[in-house]
């Protein structure tokens, strides 16, 4: 190959790359050594060091044209060890943003357009949304929670809750875990009728403007509904994007600071106060391991000063008993990504995402846990649905959400007849209200 002529100096970097200090890169390769991309078939010649070098040399078009920015799971194992302290996940998210929007792979950009237009990535209309809540809520009320319904747009609730569109779209049963918790804890909660989605696909497409719009919507809802606290959602990208957005909004306008509670803290609070009571004997006889989602631990720690490592472990131990908990190696801040971070569950890089998961599979095999407990929907799907297909016979674990485990371990605290009737009455009023709205050609 002809040598690359370096006739002119690399152009001045655009401000944001300059601010991220990419040129300080030493080329040491620590980042690459921790990254799942080297060794992933089809990704030869790409790793974070190469990407940073291209950016530092002003050859960002080359980096942006490669699959690298998308196959990168934003796991942050690279930045975790970078001696220069370069925030590589921020760099690569910026790199995603440099890709012409038409070249954003798969459904991501469509999802973004859809969330901006309709309020959720899957463009689920209000009527379908309300129907789902009422159907699934009704099922739950019948099965085990008499009087249960999903309070929508309830004014003055203690807790404003956002939902995962995957669950509203099809994984209905997964909605019920949280609902059972709210029911038994007698939570005064609500979900919004519009802009109810937890996820932040702005984060996935490297578009901070979108993240900001989504965070603003959440803040506006807090205000218009007069809710006391926002439950920071469970979805990895969602919780992280939500925090990013909340932080930026608060920076732009301090009056927009809202009271928010991360769902781990919420669960711990309720367990501590006795509003959730647990019976760990139900889970005896099996071993459990906690999977630290990158964006709940390492990346949260890097960007917000605190990673959630201890809280989920405390909840897990409360559910199953410490003696049944095992550990993965490495874990906490140095944990391996499941392989589906950064939008790699919905993205069309299945093989690559599965290859990233090779480390997780090996780790899980080595720790021999019967149940992997997770706090993120993408991790859950990756571990439960994708990895077993690509690593047949090696994924002998079951996957549970942490809140699923809480719901399963929770001792029911039945409602009194009066409570049930009052709730049913509120549910009827709510239905009538929305019926009128929908009939009104809303």
């Amino acid at each position: 190959m002809e040598p690359l002529e370096l006739a002119v100096a690399s152009p001045e970097l655009q401000d944001r790359l300059q601010a991220l200090d990419v040129r300080s890169c030493l080329g040491c390769g620590a980042c690459a050594s921790g990254c799942p991309i080297p060794g992933t078939p089809g990704m030869e010649g790409f790793d974070p060091r190469v990407a940073v070098r291209l950016l530092a040399m002003g050859r960002e078009a080359e980096a942006a044209a490669s699959p690298f920015p998308w196959v990168c799971t934003s796991c942050g194992r690279c930045s975790h060890v970078c001696p220069m302290g370069i925030d590589l996940t921020a760099v690569f998210s910026l790199l995603r943003g440099l890709v012409p929007r038409a070249n954003v792979p798969g459904t991501l950009e469509k999802g973004v357009a859809s969330v901006l237009e309709t309020g959720n990535t899957l463009a689920i209309p209000l009527e379908d949304f309300l129907d789902t809540l009422s159907d699934i809520g009704g099922e739950l009320a019948e099965e085990e929670c008499p009087g249960f319904y999903v309070p929508v747009d309830k004014q003055g609730a203690d807790l404003l809750v956002f939902l995962n569109s995957k669950e509203v779209f099809g994984d209905f049963d997964d909605l019920k875990w949280w609902w059972r918790i709210f029911y038994n804890a007698r939570e005064n909660w609500t979900v919004p009728s519009r802009n109810w989605e937890a996820e932040d696909w702005g984060l996935f497409t490297g578009n901070p403007d979108v993240s900001l719009v989504l965070a603003r919507r959440k803040l506006d809802l807090m205000r218009s509904l007069g809710a006391a606290r926002l439950l920071i959602p469970d979805c990895g990208g969602g919780s992280y994007g939500c925090r990013m957005g909340l932080k930026t909004c608060a920076l732009q306008d301090p009056s927009r600071q809202v009271d928010a509670v991360y769902f781990y803290d919420y669960l711990l609070e309720r367990i501590a106060s006795g509003r959730i009571r647990l019976d760990p004997t139900r889970n005896a006889g099996r071993t459990y391991v906690w999977h630290d989602a990158c964006k709940h631990g390492r990346e949260l720690e890097r960007h917000f000063g605190k990673g959630y490592y201890d809280e989920p472990r405390a909840i897990l131990a409360a559910c199953v008993g410490q003696e049944n908990v095992v550990a993965m190696d490495p874990d906490r801040a140095n944990n391996y990504c499941c392989g589906a971070g950064g939008g790699n569950w919905p993205m069309p890089f299945e093989k690559e995402s599965a290859a990233h998961g090779r480390f997780k599979v090996a780790q899980l095999e080595a720790c021999r846990a019967d149940v992997v407990v997770v706090g993120c929907a993408n991790c859950r799907d990756q571990l439960q649905k994708r990895l077993p297909r690509f690593y047949p016979g090696r994924c002998r674990y079951e996957v549970k959400y942490l809140w699923q485990l809480v719901a399963e371990t929770m001792i029911a605290t039945p409602w009194s007849q009066t409570e049930i009737e009052a709730a049913q009455e509120r549910s009827r009023l709510q239905q009538r209200h929305f019926q009128a709205e929908l009939d009104g050609g809303f």
Partner: protein
């Protein structure tokens, strides 16, 4: 006698730097109080298994020095005693001392203070990916050193067996900005790992480095030897260390420079831990109002390398920045000189004979000033027509100070002091030892002149090699570093700044045979120039082809700055050095971007070669005094680490480049050290 005369000089820290400073001061007639926080003298040097400089153990020599200190009548040693703060004005400082085990503190008045409290090793537990404290066979370089020094042989912790394979992982707790800010290079850990690797010949050894810095004398030779025995150097950083089967050994993954995924499984992994100030000493410096530099060590000026921001308080050893033990010795003597000058109220008993300083460059000037500052008469002899040395021998700017200006200031001061006789255009042509000292003949424009001197400091400098490589001497655009500096001086305008400049490092240095050593200054010098170019013309294309960027200690800053300014760096393997040729009218440099896996070409307006500093005209003077020289022909000291500026003939000392390549601040420190050693010698004789 003035009451202040009776106040002692306080030396804090009984490591190599503190011992040297204390002993020099005491022999020179000064009362000294040496306090040591621990229970024994010797500091870090007492734990070394061997010196990379000599390949020999050093403990006996350190013990000998400690004994001399303990035995000296003008020296009081207190153990278990920590310095907590120094305040007050020079000549009458107030030091707060704390005694270990007792809660109480004590205040004493002292005339001057030498801070030589050293550094502490980095605790790697906070770097979770290295699994120190989790995986049993991950150990630190210190524990390997202790095992080597104890003669018990090196064994791995998990089963007590000698390791059959060892991975050395460099830069642990150095050159890093997270999770802690520890930006400086710890300067000795590369040398230490190479030496330790050499001491484990039976094991398969791999050294994982960012840069293998061979600037400590003896390192490149040890590296060549170790590589011949099978040591592999890999430019890679392992990420997650895990225990091997049954919890024994260490496994990890790393990505090589080409981007290939690799695995290694070794019996033992050694973390080459860096050094930094202890929290206690940081608090001590804070309470004393002593400023720290950007690298987190006591800040000094290149032309006053042992003076701190507080007058009357001096620093020596690693507290002032990472460095090898020889530097601790040098700075110990230099700090003794500064302290002596600071406390002097009346001149010492007059030595009838002057000290001859040969060479009027930066080192010779600093040495003369140091001697005069202690009341010692000086005869300064310079072969050329004027003082200041060869202006081409210095980088334009060093550590933020304009070199030419600083040297000119020193020259002016030398000329204005009555105690210094300056003779230019003069060359020593004969020397002979007498019962009183030395006599010599000088060839001057006015004829031969006889002189007598009690001691002499050789500050003869050196020159640049001119290898026949890369079209040097065949194309006017190809220059050595000093030629380029000089050219820049005459073409300083932004418009004169070349559009494309390429630097090639290690030209004729670090060879397998011949000039084997690292020339120590050329990387920093290239980076100074590169930074200057980028600042004067941000659009300039500046590229550096290098083997290892060698910016030890706080000069790491320069490397970081150069990268941030957009200077391009390409590592090359000595087997595949960049190619320089003429393509039509263009000068073309073709090399490889190993990390991107493609070849690159630049067409520079200037190609600057990092040629080594080599002895020039030293043989003649060495012969006059019947002095031995080292392999490449530099003057050989009595001991490279313990007595690094003493020459093996009575009353003779040396400083600066004639002892080997070094940066300016080290030359100045050596000059001050040589001045102090001459004073000590004369005092000991009278």
């Amino acid at each position: 006698m003035d009451a202040r005369d009776r106040l002692p000089v306080l030396v804090a820290g009984g490591g190599l730097a503190g011992l040297r400073a204390a002993l020099d001061l005491a022999v020179a007639g000064q009362e000294v109080l040496l306090i040591e926080a621990g229970t024994r003298l010797g500091g870090g040097a007492a734990h070394l298994a061997a010196l990379v400089q000599t390949g020999q153990p050093v403990q006996a020599l350190v013990a000998e020095l400690a004994q001399a200190v303990a035995a000296h009548p003008r020296l009081t040693v207190r153990f278990g005693c920590r310095l907590e703060s120094v305040t007050g004005a020079p000549g009458e400082l107030c030091a707060v001392l704390g005694q270990t085990g007792e809660g109480s503190t004590e205040q004493i008045r002292v005339a001057a203070v030498i801070l030589a409290t050293g550094c502490s090793p980095f605790q790697p537990g906070g770097l979770d990916f290295l699994a120190y404290g989790v995986v049993p066979d991950v150990v630190t370089s210190l524990s390997v050193e202790t095992m080597l020094a104890a003669d018990g042989g090196v064994v791995r912790p998990s089963d007590g067996c000698p390791p059959r394979s060892v991975a050395f992982i460099q830069c642990v707790g150095s050159r890093m900005h997270q999770p802690e800010e520890r930006p400086a290079c710890s300067a000795v850990c590369c040398a230490v790992s190479v030496r330790q690797a050499l001491a484990l010949p039976q094991a398969r050894r791999t050294l994982y480095a960012m840069d293998l810095r061979a600037h400590v004398a003896g390192t490149q030779e040890a590296l060549n030897q170790a590589e011949a025995q099978g040591l592999t150097v890999r430019y890679a950083r392992p990420h997650t260390l895990a225990a091997g089967p049954d919890g024994r050994g260490v496994t990890f993954r790393f990505i090589d420079q080409q981007g290939t995924e690799c695995q290694d499984a070794v019996d033992m992994a050694v973390l080459a831990v860096g050094i930094g100030l202890s929290a206690a000493n940081r608090a001590m410096l804070d309470a004393s109002g002593v400023e720290l530099g950007r690298g987190g060590f006591v800040a000094t000026d290149p032309y006053a390398p042992v003076a701190t921001s507080r007058p009357g308080v001096f620093v020596a050893g690693t507290l002032g920045g990472p460095g090898e033990a020889s530097l601790a010795s040098v700075q110990g003597s230099a700090a003794a000189l500064e302290a002596l000058a600071a406390v002097r109220v009346s001149p010492p008993p007059r030595e009838p004979l002057p000290v001859l300083v040969l060479g009027g460059g930066a080192a010779g000037l600093a040495c003369s000033l140091g001697l005069a500052g202690c009341g010692q008469r000086v005869t300064l002899v310079e072969a050329s027509a004027r003082l200041g040395g060869h202006p081409r021998k210095h980088p334009t700017v060093w550590k933020g100070r304009e070199t030419k200006e600083a040297v000119a200031q020193m020259a002016e001061a030398v000329q204005s002091l009555p105690g210094i006789t300056v003779m230019t255009d003069a060359r020593l042509i004969a020397a002979a030892q007498t019962p009183q000292g030395w006599t010599g003949s000088l060839a001057t424009p006015l004829g031969t002149q006889e002189i007598a001197f009690g001691a002499a400091v050789l500050a003869l400098g050196s020159g640049e090699a001119r290898p026949d490589e890369y079209l040097l001497g065949r194309d006017p655009r190809v220059m050595t570093q000093l030629e380029f500096e000089n050219w820049r001086r005459t073409h300083p305008e932004p418009d004169d700044t070349p559009q494309t400049v390429v630097f090639i490092q290690c030209v004729g240095s670090r060879q397998r045979h011949g000039f084997t050593a690292c020339a120590r200054v050329c990387c920093a010098q290239a980076l100074c120039a590169a930074v200057e170019l980028k600042k004067s013309r941000p659009g300039a294309q500046v590229a550096v082809f290098y083997r290892d960027i060698t910016t030890p200690g706080e000069s790491e800053d320069l490397y970081t700055e150069a990268r941030r300014l957009g200077v391009l760096f390409f590592r090359y393997d000595p087997e595949r050095a960049p190619r320089v040729e003429r393509l039509g009218a263009d000068l073309a440099v073709t090399g490889e971007d190993i990390l991107l896996g493609r070849s690159v070409r630049l067409r520079p307006d200037r190609l600057v070669l990092a040629v080594p500093v080599v002895p020039v005209g030293l043989a003649e003077t060495a012969a006059l005094f019947a002095l031995p020289t080292t392999g490449p022909g530099f003057l050989a000291p009595v001991h490279p680490v313990l007595l690094p500026v003493d020459l093996p003939r009575p009353g003779l000392f040396a400083a600066g480049l004639c002892l080997g390549p070094k940066p300016l601040d080290e030359s100045v420190a050596e000059a001050q050290a040589a001045a102090m050693r001459a004073i000590v010698y004369l005092a000991g004789r009278s």
